[in-house]
Symmetry: C2
Subunit: 415 residues, 2 copies
């Protein structure tokens, strides 16, 4: 069995200035083709640290993916280090050189030495052509281990992984088949679920792993296994997955590894219905979740983000007197907002939310985390009051999850 | 000098199902008090892997922060492993037990054995009380090294780090002073900046580090250094930072480590002005960025997210004939959207965006990535056409950055 390690390089990772999304992407791609990631390690822009990480990771894995530390600026030391580590010398790659020249010519910018330096690569590597940027990927082999270096810009790294690295790995190895099955639940906690599936979990054979992945009011449950016989592996995991779905059925959102907003999107597309939102406290986050999905214009028409009272009055037809007497965070106002969105946006379904996300803004009877959610169509509007108890960002995310889940249930029970 | 290593535990990290934000948070907190993070490593829920990581990381660092792998469900093996690693036995901590009982009593939920198990801790640890959840933090000392374990739920881990771990570390050690200075530029690339500050960078003494952190059309430049004399360290880095700001002045957004939306927020607050957005292609993302900041209701009134033509017509007063003849992605429409937002939302400044984010939707004369941006006030509206060449998510983010930067420049030149 071939295992992989991921090394990410950059001081910014060690001072916490950026969040490492690259490792997750690389891990996903490797897992898909049956390469298990054993560990991920992040080191700074420091010669000795990078060198040690290379030495160490080949003890743990056969394939070492390195990302970051390549680029046109002088804080990058990865390329000369790799040249040294793999006993090469720097040579100019003519294809990369021409590519760099082409990019700058197209952008109508002067080419400086710093950019042309991107075309220099260690003589001991195989160049992986990066059509999205100037820094090429590099493939090395040593002691029967494979080392692949890609730039840290996510867009460029992703292109290289999908188009160059994965196909080349598949050509070279025969990987065991890894199978995952993931379902999504909402509205119940991790320990409640654990109790619910207690007997199932205890009866699982050791080669089938179950993981709980809690996230913003939702819990994903994932079964994983691997083996050489793809058909048998898939059949066995499907059998357990069916049992699991039955056990969590009342809380099940989807039996695929997809976000809540995709589930809602599929429902709307299937029923040929449109949606819009009226958001106060979530400030456009629900709208953003919906529109982050490609193709959302087929079912999403728009939103009114009404933070101020006059926006609620003018664009959502909310009653001014009630706003002043009952306050924006109330059953009455969120019902009016839902109705207003249905009308303003001319949609089949609407979501409305109004709440206090914190840190400020609370009143004696409405603490931070108090949220009213409304969902409905022309015939019926239902509302629910929620209490979240976290920080602003998390309260916004939890509100969005709860609102989308309410709409999902509303559509299911009204179609 | 005391160094730290961060170990994150969880299979979900190795299959890329979740993005590790915990490491970044922990690294930030440690850096703030002068503890340098040497490396971060992620391992799966596997006894041997976790054990090896503990063995290895104490070779690299004096303080080992462990997060994840604690919780009420059975996929967690970290606690028994730590008990074993530090030669303890499991004992019940009465304070934690009472806390667990209190939480479930308050939630009016039955307490199950699985929850009560959270009160069991290794006898060789000092318990760090977790008031936000049921799984306590644990502090171990062995071979003159410190090991701290916290649960992986970000909210709980963050509370424990700030209230328990950092204060306890500060009591125990005398750390050197670490200083960072970060500025933000927008609208120019990394290699252009590198050229601009070439001489400055080459003249930097080796103990002052410069890093380039590109992100969504912006580049942050960070200077870092450390030393025992806090006053001298701060004075020296301030001197270099002043030089750096002067060099990049035309592209400088802020000389603090803060996001673009905070810079815009400060400008609006200072001038006592309000803002709203009219978004098509960004689908609420600009609005979300603005409202993710606490206190944004002081200057943000609302947004119209108009994906569909009729939403543009009804809520932003865009001319129907022009929409049909010129298309939504045009100078004329984005100008009308800006004007419409100023009126609909009754704000001092408005941002409008309309574009094609991909993957579908392009026309022969408007490829994916074509975006029109408008910003303005009652007196003047300016527009700009942009071409981004990335995927949907990145195009949305780049559009948001460009629009906020345009507004920032507009406010600066009109006040």
């Amino acid at each position: 069995m071939n295992n992989a390690s991921i090394i990410t390089i950059g001081d910014e990772l060690l001072i916490g200035q950026v969040i490492d999304t690259n490792s997750a992407f690389i891990a996903q791609q490797l897992n898909k083709v049956g390469i298990a990631v054993k560990r991920r390690v992040a080191v700074g822009d420091n010669w000795d640290e990078i060198w040690t990480a290379l030495d160490e990771q080949q003890q743990h894995a056969d394939i070492i993916l390195i990302t970051g530390g390549l680029g046109p600026t002088a804080d990058d030391i990865t390329k000369p280090l790799l040249c040294n580590y793999f006993n090469g010398e720097m040579i100019v790659n003519e294809e990369v050189k021409q590519h760099v020249i082409d990019i700058f010519t197209k952008l109508n910018r002067p080419i400086i030495d710093r950019n042309l330096k991107q075309a220099e690569v260690p003589s001991t590597c195989e160049v992986l052509f990066n059509k999205r940027g100037t820094a090429p990927g590099m493939w090395f082999e040593k002691n029967n281990k494979i080392f692949v270096s890609t730039p840290g810009v996510p867009f460029e790294m992703q292109g290289l992984m999908i188009e160059e690295v994965i196909p080349k790995l598949l050509k070279q190895f025969n990987f065991p088949h890894i199978a995952h099955r993931t379902l999504l639940t909402a509205g119940v906690g991790e320990s409640f679920l654990a109790e619910l599936i207690n007997h199932f979990e205890e009866a699982l054979p050791p080669h089938i792993k179950l993981a709980y992945l809690p996230n913003f009011g939702m819990v994903r449950l994932r079964l994983s296994t691997s083996g050489n016989n793809k058909v048998e592996v898939e059949k066995e995991i499907d059998n357990y997955f069916t049992q699991l779905q039955t056990l969590v059925a009342p809380h099940l959102v989807t039996n695929e590894d997809e976000p809540m907003e995709k589930v809602v999107a599929k429902l709307l597309l299937k029923n040929n219905k449109t949606i819009g939102t009226a958001e106060s406290c979530t400030g456009g986050y629900i709208s953003h979740l919906i529109t982050a999905m490609a193709g959302s214009s087929a079912y999403y028409k728009g939103s009114v983000i009404a933070y101020a009272y006059d926006a609620k009055e003018n664009l959502l037809y909310v009653d001014k007197t009630e706003l002043e007497t009952k306050g924006a965070v109330s059953k009455s106002i969120v019902t009016q907002m839902t109705k207003g969105a249905l009308k303003s946006l001319n949609v089949d379904y609407a979501i409305a939310v109004s709440g206090i996300m914190g840190p400020g803004g609370e009143t004696p009877d409405k603490p931070v985390g108090t949220v009213w959610i409304g969902v409905g169509n022309a015939d019926e509007i239902i509302t629910q009051k929620m209490h979240f108890r976290f920080d602003r960002q998390r309260n916004i995310q939890l509100t969005a999850t709860a609102a989308l889940n309410m709409l999902r249930q509303f559509i299911l029970s009204h179609s």
